[in-house]
Amino acid sequence: MSRWKTILIHGFLIFFTAMTLYPVLLVVRKSVTPGDNFERSLSPIPSRVTLDHYSEVIGSRDFNGRPLFWRIVLNSVVLSLATTLVGMFLASTSAYAFSRLRFPGRRMGLMMFLVVQMFPATLIMIPLYVILDKLGLLDSLVGLVLVYSTTAIPFCVWTLKGYFDTIPREIEEAAWIDGATRFQMFWRIVIPLSRPALAVTALFSFMTAWNEYILAETFLSRETSYTLPVMLQHYVGTHSTQWGKFAAGAVLVSIPVMALFYILQKHLVSGLTAGGVKG
């Protein structure tokens, strides 16, 4: 490779990386500069530094004077973990059946999981509201866990099924000869072998729950049952534009999910594309 070509490639990549990082740096800058508006400057380095916005966000209290921020963090964490667990359980079992077993309705089921992704959320929102209301699950995290895990399932099923397909059947056949049951083959062989795909789907389920705000905003009405996106949304909602608090909140909300993303990102390529590449 010639010297000039290398420089050109690096220049290109550096340009794109800068484009990617710059908006994020601006938010970080805003979160540590005082005041609620953006200042007229392009530099990502803040002129004055303060942690006021962070302490305001973390120290926010509800009507009864109890700490609100930690309550909301707890809500989001519980919601996201529960969604991940329920979603993974539902998706992995059905993906296993779709990958390993041949049964009538298999094609139709797979098609259904594909088609379901095309349902616009607004179409489902009003009926869901009515159903959750009837079940008494409105304004509760249980209802949201169910909704989120079912909306995350189609993608998870397809990804997992694609990955399960790449695991050789011979291993299971050997286990079958040794007297393993269907469940043992699933739980002891297929699940441990598909760690990358499981990591990726778990990550997506988690991100779905952690980042979703339209349904959360519609279904949750008490301040103490809010999730983080709803809280952030309220900082720059129709009535107020507290960009400082929003930026600080955005940084706080993004850090855990980005950390998780980067921990699991080495699985991203193999987990996502295994099914597709095979074909």
């Binding site: 990386t17 990617t20 392009l42 059905s94 959320a121 009003i126 980042n211 990102q265």
Partner: protein, 541 residues
């Protein structure tokens, strides 16, 4: 041989008859119930109208109290004073104390509605309708007896059904599908012509006003019953029903594994979906839903009276949506693939650093991204305008004209979406064996030839599903449009999904219209993915 066959066949036909009767029985129960409901409803309506007339007429057929609301009120409470009785017309103070509680309550109701109120009283052997009518600032309350014949079991309908069934006995073996289809038709026809408020002999009118004026619950029951019986009849006709039971038993392990997910999806996705589709046929106004047939769809597809250049026109929004999807996917794929090709080279220094930094937008919650870019495009303090200013181009008011607002949306979504395509392309590129490139090198192929003849064809199987998936996501990308431009200026940058949202929650709670929009979105995407699938199948062959 023959002797043994005949009782066997007889038994067989008897068995199929027993099944048929068992299947018809619940249908009969449903039919009786719903027919009774309708007749009772009709009966009640006429009786109430009679009672109303009776109490409200100048020469009432029953004793009537005439009440006047007192001038003072406590909160929303109203008090009434008896100012007379009719038909005698004699004013008496003694009546004041005797005014029963129900008459007072009914009078309040009538006074509040400014029209009237009715209540049914049913005791064994005696039923009456208590009525209050509001006339010239006074309320007239009376208790009118129920007139007319109380509805009876529709024996003649049952008779017809049974005679028909008996007649069916004479027909050859498989009677079930025929009966079932008959029942299905019967239920549909019932709703169409049977219980309409005004019987119009005009067929076209009947079709455009099917089920109008009928209780919604009854319509639902009719439809469900018709659907179920049609389903059973068709499956019988295809001789599948037994087969299904058998396969269910045979593959019970597979179904056990699939069941939890299907159940969850069924309750929380499919039921709401069915509900939403149904909603598309109704009009919502202040909590009341009325059945309007295909009128919502007609309003959307005809543009709702707006010209094609008006953002409220469906076709305008569809055009914007298609342009939005196409541009975004094009940018995602070209940037993602381009970066992946650069990052593929294992000798490149800092390769993993670039990769880690470039997937940052994927890791960010996308509503934060959207709000962040909205801030960047802000007219006065936004980084984009400051940059343009520094370059001497002058700032732009991004959200006041269509093209600039659209560009802002596209830039945001491109920033958000290219990492996904990059990661998918990287994975696919890594799986292409290097021996192919080595062989091409031996043959003296240029790098363009290698890209065109090796990379692209081998990339297709992985990239194509990602593109289909990505375009569906972009088509329904609510967050970016809603949070960045919010449809500004004047709703012109709205895509179909945000337009539906606007109708439901911003422009007078038109849930029905929003649902119809959503159904159309679904149909478009379904056609698209079906088309895409056909295309891949052809390519792979």
């Amino acid at each position: 041989m023959g002797d043994r066959q005949i009782p066997g066949r007889l038994l067989e036909s008897l068995k199929s008859w027993a099944v048929a009767l068992l299947a018809v029985l619940p249908l009969l129960v449903v039919y009786l119930w719903s027919a009774g409901q309708v007749q009772e409803q009709e009966f009640r309506t006429t009786a109430q109208l009679n009672a109303f007339e009776c109490v409200g007429s100048s020469e009432p057929c029953v004793p009537v109290w005439v009440l006047r609301p007192e001038p003072y009120m406590e909160g929303s409470l109203v008090r009434f004073r008896v100012i007379g009785t009719r038909p005698s017309g004699k004013v008496s103070r003694e009546k004041d104390a005797k005014l029963p509680r129900w008459a007072h309550d009914l009078a309040v109701e009538a006074w509040q509605s400014r029209k009237g109120a009715v209540r049914w009283v049913s005791k064994p052997g005696h039923s009456a309708i208590r009525t209050a009518v509001f006339m010239d600032d006074t309320v007239h309350v009376g208790q009118a007896p129920v007139r007319g014949q109380y509805p009876d079991v529709p024996w003649e309908h049952l008779l017809v059904l049974f005679v028909f069934s008996l007649f069916m006995l004479l027909l050859p073996p498989r009677p079930v599908p025929v009966i079932m289809s008959f029942v299905a038709f019967f239920y549909l026809a019932n709703g169409m012509f049977g219980y309409r408020a005004d019987a119009e002999p005009d067929w076209i009118y009947s079709f455009s006003h099917i089920y109008e004026g009928t209780d919604t619950a009854l319509v639902v029951v009719w439809f469900l019953t018709a659907a179920i019986s049609l389903f059973i009849s068709i499956s019988y006709a295809l001789n599948r029903f037994k087969g299904w039971c058998r396969t269910l038993k045979e593959h019970r392990i597979a179904y056990t594994y699939v069941l939890p997910a299907i159940l969850g999806m069924g309750i929380l996705v499919l039921v709401p979906f069915a509900f939403g589709v149904t909603l598309g046929f109704f009009n919502h106004c202040k909590g009341d839903y009325t059945f309007v047939g295909l009128r919502n769809f007609w309003e959307i597809l005809s543009g709702g009276g707006a010209s094609i250049t008006n953002p409220l026109n469906f076709w305008f929004t569809l055009g914007v949506t298609l342009m939005w999807t196409f541009l975004n996917v094009l940018l995602h794929v070209s940037i993602g693939l381009g970066l992946a090709l650069l990052l593929k080279n294992p000798l490149l220094k800092m390769r993993s650093v670039y990769r880690v930094l470039l997937i940052l937008p994927w890791a960010m919650p996308n509503y934060i991204t959207a709000l962040m870019w909205k801030g960047m495009f802000q007219q006065q303090y936004g980084a984009v305008n400051i940059l343009l200013d520094k370059l001497g181009l002058g700032g732009v008011s991004w959200f006041s004209s269509f093209w600039t607002a659209f560009t802002a949306n596209v830039v945001t979504n491109t920033w958000l979406g290219f990492p996904f395509m990059m990661v998918v392309s990287l994975g696919a590129l890594q799986s292409i064996p290097t021996s192919l490139y080595e062989a091409a090198d031996v043959d003296g192929a240029s790098s363009w030839q290698k890209f065109w003849n090796i990379t692209l064809p081998l990339l297709r199987p992985a990239l194509f599903p990602a593109i289909v998936m990505g375009s569906i996501w972009t088509f329904n990308m609510f967050n970016v449009i809603y949070l960045v431009s919010g449809g500004e200026p004047g709703g012109s940058t709205d895509i179909l999904i945000t337009e539906a949202y606007q109708w439901a929650f911003k422009r007078g709670e038109r849930y029905g219209l929003a649902a119809a929009y959503a159904v159309l979105i679904f149909i478009i995407l379904l056609l698209y993915s079906w088309f895409a699938q056909k295309l891949t199948e052809q390519k792979l062959d």
